[in-house]
């Protein structure tokens, strides 16, 4: 077992970071809105900040434990971290930057040169070896920063928004490069992002963080199918309606906070605060409500029409809001609805999912 296991409490400006996280070998994407505490978590793991209490273990090693009074300094944790702004040493060239960690570990001369050279070649940046870091492009800087981190053979890799500062063209290239490099690594890796595209690109395990807590952990597909909070739902583009489940005459109903009633399978759901999710492509639009329909329906005004390739996303709202995604042929068949027109959004009960809010911030 070479995974990371942590349980941490830490006071942030507006809320407490309080989480329990297990990360195995390979890439885990840590997703969350800005200000959720993602970077703070990385700093706590790296030992740059000190938690109020908790425990961090990496493989067999205890890095921090408030109970056992263990708190290894950053230089002894063997954690590689790539900062968002990279923090390359301006007084050293590319080779000097990559060899820095080895020099600090007193690996001298030829042996150090050899390892730096090996890494330069492995990461396809041998041509940059003698360059001044100030003259590198954004993407090149990224590669050098990762090489410098990997040179010290870390047991856990932390990447803080590695592509956020790049322009769109370089971002695509670096993502592909990162994917190639990271899949070859056999250590737990946490990559922080607030970018939907990034998660979709890597399609790996995802942990979602909001307000200092991990609200969902699972595969990217799980996230798509069963978003556990409004942020996740909005993030993956799933409809999310907040409301409550009520029991009436032994039967359960979901009533949205806007007052609409919806039906769903109600598996393992208790009366109380709950939320409904439904995929945009499971929603059909009609100008008139179909007769005798047992389906869930919502009458509302088209607010927004977005054409994405051969799909069209329409936002319909009144007291509640729903996003429907239909084919462009279906869109034409409806007479190309425009904002301001009234429509019925309809979906089957079995296509909706209802869950209790539980401990999560709904």
């Amino acid at each position: 077992m070479n995974g990371l296991s942590c349980r941490l409490r830490y006071r942030l400006a507006h809320f407490d970071l309080d989480l329990d996280l297990q990360v195995g070998s390979g890439l885990t994407v840590l997703l969350g809105p800005n200000g959720a505490g993602k970077s703070s978590l990385l700093r706590l793991l790296a030992g740059l900040n000190q938690p109020a209490s908790g425990q961090v273990t990496l493989g067999e090693r205890c890095l921090y434990s408030s109970d056992k009074k263990v708190d290894l300094p950053p230089e002894q944790r063997r954690i590689g971290m790539m900062f968002q702004d990279l923090a390359l040493f301006p007084h050293l060239d590319v080779s000097g930057n990559i060899g820095f960690g080895l020099k600090m570990r007193r690996i001298h001369g030829g042996k150090r040169q050899q390892r730096v050279q090996l890494l330069l070649e492995k990461l396809d940046i041998a041509h940059l070896a003698r360059r001044n870091v100030a003259t590198l492009s954004g993407g090149e800087r990224q590669k050098v920063a990762l090489a410098r981190t990997l040179a010290t053979d870390p047991k856990l890799l932390l990447l803080d928004e590695p592509t956020a500062a790049l322009d769109p063209a370089a971002r695509g290239e670096i993502r592909r490069w990162l994917q190639t490099v990271l899949t070859r690594l056999d250590i737990p890796t946490i990559m922080v992002t607030h970018d939907a595209e990034e998660v979709a690109f890597f399609r790996k395990r995802v942990a979602v963080m909001e307000q200092g807590r991990i609200v969902q952990q699972g595969s990217f597909h799980q996230l798509l199918r069963e978003p556990a909070s409004e942020f996740v739902a909005r993030f993956v583009g799933v409809n999310y309606i907040l409301g409550a489940v009520r029991a009436e005459a032994g039967k359960l109903h979901f009533t949205s906070s806007g007052g609409s009633k919806f039906l769903a399978p109600f598996e393992q759901v208790r009366p109380g605060p709950a939320f409904l999710t439904v995929q945009p492509w499971d929603i059909a639009l009609y100008r008139e409500l179909p007769e005798g329909s047992p389906r869930n329906h919502l009458h509302g005004e088209i607010r927004e029409v977005v054409i994405i390739g051969d799909r069209v996303r329409l936002t319909l709202s009144r007291k509640d809001k729903l996003v429907a995604e239909i084919s462009s042929r279906g869109y034409q068949a409806l007479g190309e609805p425009q904002p301001g027109e009234m429509f019925w959004a309809v979906f089957k009960a079995r296509e909706a999912r209802i869950e209790n809010c539980g401990a999560l911030p709904c």
Partner: protein, 262 residues
């Protein structure tokens, strides 16, 4: 083009007056020094001795200033809040102390009958009226100024650089030596030269604590003072020489100082 307004004229006027106030005495001194012929002056043994004492004391004080000042400045730049403010006030103390008062204070601390005087005498060290006293006086006056400016340098270092070094396995000392110091090296060189420039001009504190003994404690500033009593023309020449040295050091500071800050 827009007509200059009254306020603009006020700014230009006061600037011009200040410029004249600075440049006029400098030019007058250089002119007087020129007429007293600098080169023959350099041939006089007493002038050579004064130059030697000035250079030697400054060069001896410089390592002390760095040794005491650098770690203190770094420590201070890593402090915050009330502790930092208290320490900064402590640093300002020698800066606001009039030089004559500083000389007397040093005498009372390290003099023969001073606080540490007897203890020093027991181990065979007698400071007042020696070159050691000149070095100590320079260190006492200049180190706080040096620390203040170095704190600004260290404050300007991106903290992430040091954190990155720690995460790559550097101990805090290695991080200081291999990252912090090299990153600010240009600024540190400039501060070193600045310390020299400030040292060559010290007068009050040296004359009281180290005395004015030609060949032992008489620096160039003290030699000017002595010369002014019996040969003003020579004093002007020596003053012009000191001014030239200071100008040279000032030019070096500006040549070395990091450009980013400007």
């Amino acid at each position: 083009m827009r007509r200059p307004r009254l306020f603009d004229l006020l700014l230009i006027g006061s600037g011009t007056l200040l410029g004249a106030l600075i440049l006029l005495p400098v030019l007058a001194l250089l002119r007087a020094g020129w007429s007293s012929a600098l080169l023959p002056l350099l041939g006089q043994p007493q002038v050579q001795q004064a130059l030697w004492i000035t250079a030697l004391s400054s060069l001896l004080a410089l390592p002390l200033i760095f040794l005491l000042g650098l770690p203190s400045a770094y420590g201070l730049s890593r402090c915050s809040g009330r502790l930092r403010r208290s320490l900064e006030i402590l640093l300002e103390l020698p800066m606001v102390m009039p030089p004559v008062v500083a000389g007397l204070a040093l005498l009372l601390a390290f003099g023969r009958r001073g606080l540490l005087g007897e203890m020093l005498a027991d181990v065979g060290i007698r400071l007042p009226f020696t070159l050691g006293a000149v070095v100590l006086a320079l260190t006492f006056v200049i180190t706080p100024l040096f620390v203040r400016r170095c704190v600004v340098l260290f404050d300007g270092i991106e903290q992430k650089l040091e954190e990155a070094a720690l995460l790559l396995g550097a101990t805090p000392l290695q991080c200081f030596w291999h990252v912090t110091l090299p990153v600010v090296r240009r600024g540190l060189f400039a501060e070193g030269v600045m310390a020299l420039a400030q040292g060559v001009g010290l007068f009050g504190v040296i004359i009281l604590f180290a005395g004015n003994l030609p060949g032992r404690t008489q620096t160039l500033s003290l030699a000017i003072y002595s010369a002014f009593e019996h040969d003003p023309q020579q004093a002007f020449g020596l003053a012009a020489l000191l001014l030239l040295i200071s100008l040279l050091l000032l030019a070096t500071v500006h040549l070395l100082a990091p450009r980013e800050g400007r």
